[in-house]
């Protein structure tokens, strides 16, 4: 793999320069101290760059809404003329964690499968991702990317991956797109030596070891494949789950949506918005018949979809081990807890 170096102090300069060509999305500290992926506003880039965080911070919301917004218009009809509202822009995603990138790739495949989803795919057309994973997990009780085999570092299938080696980042180049980017902005990058590559290796090993939460994914999949986990486990979960949908909103690979129309002045607008299988109305038909009316059926749906159906259809688990479902749940349910329970 080709590598280079970039000084930490040059990152903001690079982003500033690149913002002429790209819409840049980066982890930004927002009011209250949370960190969210935001698009750096071109008109106020300096202020925004100051808020870009390079630390290993917990990012409560995944970057899925960059490609699949929580609410988006599909088209408008004005005076019998249909206007599509497909969005396109060049997007540079900086500071994405490896597991979130795996989540993005997983969703890409889903939206490409059988019928293509133009809205999603148009947003991904010109996309460059710079991964910067954590050296220590921001939430020791929640992060389990090593168990999901989605991080903290990737060996292949990425554009650019940064490894924090102190004063500088080792820049690993994983794709042609990544290489073109480095060449274009070469004045920010330096050659690296073997000792820096070795140093990065040690850093990566340490990062892997720092993650304490270990979840037995393959055993969970194995259990799902054979006899499904007993109803009792789902029923226990269903008793606690308040079906708020929080876990789904923060999950990088949950993609279900609702479609509805609205009228605004002369125009009719068709929208779609995030929806979830834990809501009772998700499967309720006009006749009143509802195949998943019972709470525990909805609880089991989410776990079985991610762990088993996704695995069956794609060979990969739909859970990338981000831990967000657990941290966002008001009653402390989550994928890691579920796997622990069934594999115990």
């Amino acid at each position: 793999m080709k590598s280079a170096l970039i000084n930490k102090s040059d990152i903001r300069l690079l982003l500033k320069e690149a913002s002429r060509e790209w819409n840049i999305y980066a982890p930004l500290e927002v009011q209250g101290g949370d960190v969210n992926f935001c698009c750096l506003p071109k008109e106020n880039i300096k202020e925004a760059l100051n808020r870009v965080t390079l630390d290993d911070k917990w990012i409560p919301v995944p970057p899925k809404d960059l490609f699949f917004p929580q609410l988006e218009s599909l088209f408008e009809i004005k005076k019998n003329k249909i206007e599509e509202t497909v969005e396109y822009s060049k997007k540079l995603l900086f500071g994405i964690k490896a597991y979130d990138y795996q989540g993005i790739l997983f969703s890409d495949e889903f939206f490409k499968r059988t019928f293509q989803d133009n809205y999603y795919l148009s947003r991904t057309k010109d996309r460059l991702v710079i991964i910067k994973s954590c050296l220590t997990p921001p939430r020791q009780n929640a992060c389990f990317c090593t168990s999901a085999k989605t991080g903290p570092f990737l060996d292949k299938d990425f554009d650019i991956q940064l490894v924090d080696i102190g004063e500088a980042y080792l820049v690993e180049i994983g794709s042609k797109r990544g290489e073109d980017f480095i060449l274009k902005y070469k004045r920010f990058f330096k050659l690296c030596s073997n000792s820096e590559v070795d140093k990065a290796l040690t850093v990566k090993e340490k990062a892997v070891d720092s993650i304490e939460l270990k979840i037995d994914f393959s055993r969970a999949v194995e259990l799902m494949k054979g006899k499904e986990p007993p109803e009792e486990i789902y029923k226990k979960i269903a008793q606690r789950c308040i079906h708020c949908g929080g876990c789904i909103y923060v999950c990088p690979t949950c993609t279900c949506f609702n479609v509805f129309d609205d009228k605004e002045n002369e125009a009719m607008i068709r929208y779609r918005n995030w929806d979830t299988c834990v809501f009772e109305g998700f499967t309720r038909e006009a006749s009143g018949f509802n195949p998943r009316e019972t709470k525990w059926l909805r609880a089991s749906r989410r776990y079985e979809h991610k762990l088993w159906y996704d695995y069956k259809t794609t060979g990969k688990s739909g859970c990338v081990g981000c831990g967000r479902c657990l941290t966002s749940c008001p009653v402390e349910l989550g994928m890691s807890k579920f796997i622990q329970e069934i594999t115990a």
Binding site: I82, Q116, N118, E228, R272, F282, E285, R292
Partner: protein, 278 residues
């Protein structure tokens, strides 16, 4: 790349009242090229939009053997379907599709066909039925068992008579609640088993109706000796996108909108027990 979410305008040419809450619309695409190129198979559905009200999946009830127009039979139950009922001849609906798989047709040639429908379950089967009648010589005998709550609620009342007159075709009707002058059978659709001989020999069965009816019909078919792979059911599931994305219609690892809506009973048995009602 074609944007699958964009619907195309079609003009309503005729409206037929089937019952107090059900109507059949005959529509033609505005665009002539689309009118000629729109190709579908019996059992497929389209997403029909009434702008401002929304979109709903509706089976194509016309037969692909009769070209240039499409027909839909719609029961007014909610927002979109009630909006469809407010439309008049000359008004525009928007369509996208066709979606979903279809009932076996080529595979059914030279065999006997048995159709069992309940209520609004007949419209999707009507597409296969008329296609089979338009290729009458390719099939053995054709039996249609059809039940509704009341005589008024039977769809295609005139066409049922025409079908009855076709050689080697039998139409048996039943209602739960008879009205004055009803001379046919009374009872659920499975009571028709006593009125005719149902033989699995060289036969293929097509079933569509409410879940509870499907459940009892499947039982009867199995008792009569039908193999699960010779029974085809159109499953209804709440649908939004029709193209395998929104997730509403999922059953196990399948999507009713792209892997279905037609499943053989053999396939249905493979779906997780708790996710299926039959």
């Amino acid at each position: 790349m074609k944007n699958e979410y964009i619907p195309y305008p079609a003009i309503i040419e005729a409206i037929q009242t089937e019952s107090f809450d059900t109507r059949t619309l005959k529509v033609r695409f505005k665009d002539k090229r689309l009118r000629d190129s729109f190709d579908y198979k019996p059992g497929q559905f389209v997403e029909i939009s009434v702008l401002g009200a929304g979109e709903a999946p509706i089976s194509i009830t016309s037969s692909p053997s009769r070209k240039g127009f499409l027909e839909f039979t719609v029961r007014a139950v909610g927002k979109v379907t009630k909006a469809i009922h407010k439309l008049k001849v000359g008004d525009t609906v928007y369509l996208r599709g066709p979606y979903g798989n279809s009932f076996p047709f080529e595979e059914a040639k030279n065999r006997n066909l048995l159709f069992v429908a309940g209520g609004i379950g007949l419209p999707p089967l009507r597409s296969v039925i008329n296609m089979a009648f338009d290729n009458r010589d390719d099939f053995g005998n054709i039996k249609i068992l059809y039940g509704a709550k009341a005589p008024d609620e039977l769809c295609f009342k005139e066409e049922l008579k025409i079908w009855q007159g076709i050689p080697q075709a039998e139409v048996l009707l039943t209602v739960d609640k008879p009205a004055n002058g009803w001379k046919g059978n009374i009872g659920v659709v499975t009571t028709l088993w006593k009125k005719t001989e149902i033989s699995p020999k060289d036969a293929i069965a097509y079933v569509c109706g409410p879940p509870i009816m499907i459940k009892f019909v499947l039982q009867k078919l199995l008792e009569s000796g039908f193999k699960p792979d010779n029974i085809y059911v159109s499953l209804e599931r709440y649908m939004k996108c029709g193209i395998g994305k929104c997730g509403h219609c999922n059953i196990g690892d399948k999507f009713a909108c792209i892997d279905g809506p037609v499943f053989s009973f053999g396939q249905i048995k493979e779906l997780p027990d708790k996710e299926r009602e039959i």
